[in-house]
Amino acid sequence: MDSAQTTALIQTVAQGLLTGGLYALIGTGLSLIFGVMRVINFAHGDFLAIGMFITLALFRAFDLDPYFSLLVAAPVGFALGFLIQRVVLARLGDRLSEASMLATLGLGLIISNTLLLTFGAQPQNINVAYATQTVQLGGVQLSIPLIVAGLGTLVSIAALNFVLYRTELGRAIRATAQNPLGAELQGVKTAHIQAIVFGMGVAFAAIAGVLLMPLLYAFPTVGENYTTKAFIVTVLGGLGNLPGAVVGGLVLGVIESLGAFYVSNNYRDAYGLVAFLLVLLLRPEGLFGKTVKRV
């Protein structure tokens, strides 16, 4: 392998890792929700789309720099998730694990079609100066929005870990995940905790949407693709396994980049799906199921 090829490989892997960071962020939200409530959120990508469109709307209305939208999108996502858990999912009772799939599927349709009515079907983007800029790092070119997205992911996941392992709320969340009834008996208001967790999961999706906006076009059904990515990430890492979701995201990003570069860009989305199917069939507990501690 000559040096040009090596640089190309490093470039591909680096890009894959940064994209994978975003996948990790999306997957972490989904995995957190599953880990605590056993709910597979089929509207996850649509919450990401909400994050994108909030960014778009604020940019159009106030010329607000996309990254400042985080201050709006994250709380809105949290509130939305909290409300949905309280108003919809909490009412499903003991039918939760099965019926939540249908309920979130319905919510996803409501969200994507409302976005369609509000913003139209046309893909839209925002023009910021740094959207297409890159930095050189030892011969490797990396786009600035992708680096910011990678940093954003790091900060978000670090914050989540802090909350989970250093705060009283985190103890309550972990207790609820491990044994809801036991936690309730110890005075944990599990219904409240579940609403908070759903809110956090949705906020993560919305944050990912904001971070993606400078890189992508927003359109109402953009979430569909990311719901699938989130599923892939969580299954790769093991359903409900948070560190697994991070590794799963990075693995997915790298698989996609390498496949697109060395095989064919047309099948970019297929590599992850095939990996997903293989893991589903061969190791349903996830690639790292046995070796990594669960939430």
């Binding site: 019926a99 369609l116 009515l117 569909e224 699938t228 997903f276």
Partner: protein
């Protein structure tokens, strides 16, 4: 569909159930005479009613939610069309294959796919099957978009087709009666399954997998059989839909929303009931048509709202609302 093993059941109940199917078919048979000008709507509605009932064999009776049935629909449509097109048909066939034989081959391929796919994934419990259906359908969609023999993203045009028993297949009236026959066939098969050993085994597996196993039922085997039947019927519907469309591309047949639509029709109508999916499909088609004028292309909004309402307030769908006390239509729930 083994020999009917009919336990004692209130006779009137069983008849009532069959009569509902007969009534449904009678309404469908009268449609072309009353609404002769809107046959397009009639044909597509009937095809989706049949598809929803095919989905229900797996999703309702076996309780395995598939969100990948678009792949099976596409399997029927693509196989039939490719085999009927002179310049696309593999040399091995020595010339274009009549659409009805093509549809049968498509059904066979779909059934084979379901056999392998179900055999692999039904060993896992929980949501894994649903997740796998999404992935399999998306992979097949990518293949259809990127291959030459599927016409890529441009899709396929229907070639000249031979006449079917003397009828022109491109005439809406012929298509209507074919769609009617498709619905009648799926209804008949659902009725047969319900009264068969397989039907009872499926319900047992759905309600309590371990309990069913203790009774000597092999849950994986039962689910696979249901999946194979469901897949073959869906592919048949796909072939019919392709004739109706006359030209199609991956986007019209293979996208996730199509799979979701088929599943939601069955769920909203009533999973595990016999006529529920057909009623759900008709209802949603009418709603969709009405709301198309209000919401333009956002007409799936109404699906979202309905599915939420049904999940929250009518877990057994519209048919479930009519099911009170002992008057159970179809399931033991």
């Amino acid at each position: 569909m083994t020999a009917a093993l009919t336990p004692a059941r209130p006779r009137a109940l069983t008849f009532g159930n069959v009569w509902l199917s007969v009534a449904l078919l009678a309404v469908m048979a009268l449609y072309p005479m009353v609404f002769g000008k809107t046959l397009n709507f009639g044909v597509s509605t009937l095809i989706f009613a049949g598809l929803a009932m095919s989905w229900n064999i797996l999703g309702g009776w076996a309780g395995q939610i598939s969100l990948g049935h678009a792949a099976l629909l596409g399997m029927g449509a693509y196989t039939m069309t490719i085999l009927a097109t002179p310049e696309r048909v593999p040399a091995f066939f020595g010339g274009p294959v009549a659409p009805w034989w093509g549809a049968l081959i498509g059904m066979g391929i779909a059934a084979l796919l379901a056999l392998v796919w179900g055999g692999l994934t039904f060993r896992l419990r929980g949501s894994y099957f649903t997740l796998s259906t999404i992935a399999v359908a998306l992979v097949l969609r990518l293949v259809a978009i990127n291959s030459d023999w599927t016409g890529g993203s441009e899709g396929l045009f229907m070639p000249e087709l031979p006449r079917f028993l003397g009828f022109d297949l491109f005439e809406r009236r012929t298509e209507y009666w074919l769609a009617f026959a498709f619905v009648a066939l799926t209804l008949l098969i659902t009725h047969l399954i319900r009264r068969s050993r397989l039907g009872y085994a499926l319900q047992a597996v759905r309600e309590d997998e371990d309990g069913a196993r203790a009774l000597g039922i092999d849950p994986t085997r039962m689910k696979v059989i249901a999946f194979v039947i469901s897949a073959a019927l869906t592919a048949l519907g796909g072939a019919l839909y392709a004739v109706y469309l006359q030209a199609f591309e991956p986007h019209t047949l293979l996208e996730l929303p199509i799979s979701v639509q088929i599943a939601l029709m069955a769920i909203i109508g009533g999973r595990g009931s016999i006529q529920g999916p057909a009623i759900g499909a008709i209802l949603l088609a009418v709603f969709g048509e009405v709301f198309r004028n209000v919401f333009a292309n956002a007409n799936l909004l109404i699906y979202g709202v309905l599915i939420l309402v049904v999940t929250l307030f009518a877990p057994n769908g519209i048919m479930g609302l009519f099911r009170r006390g002992g008057n159970k239509l179809g399931t033991a729930r």
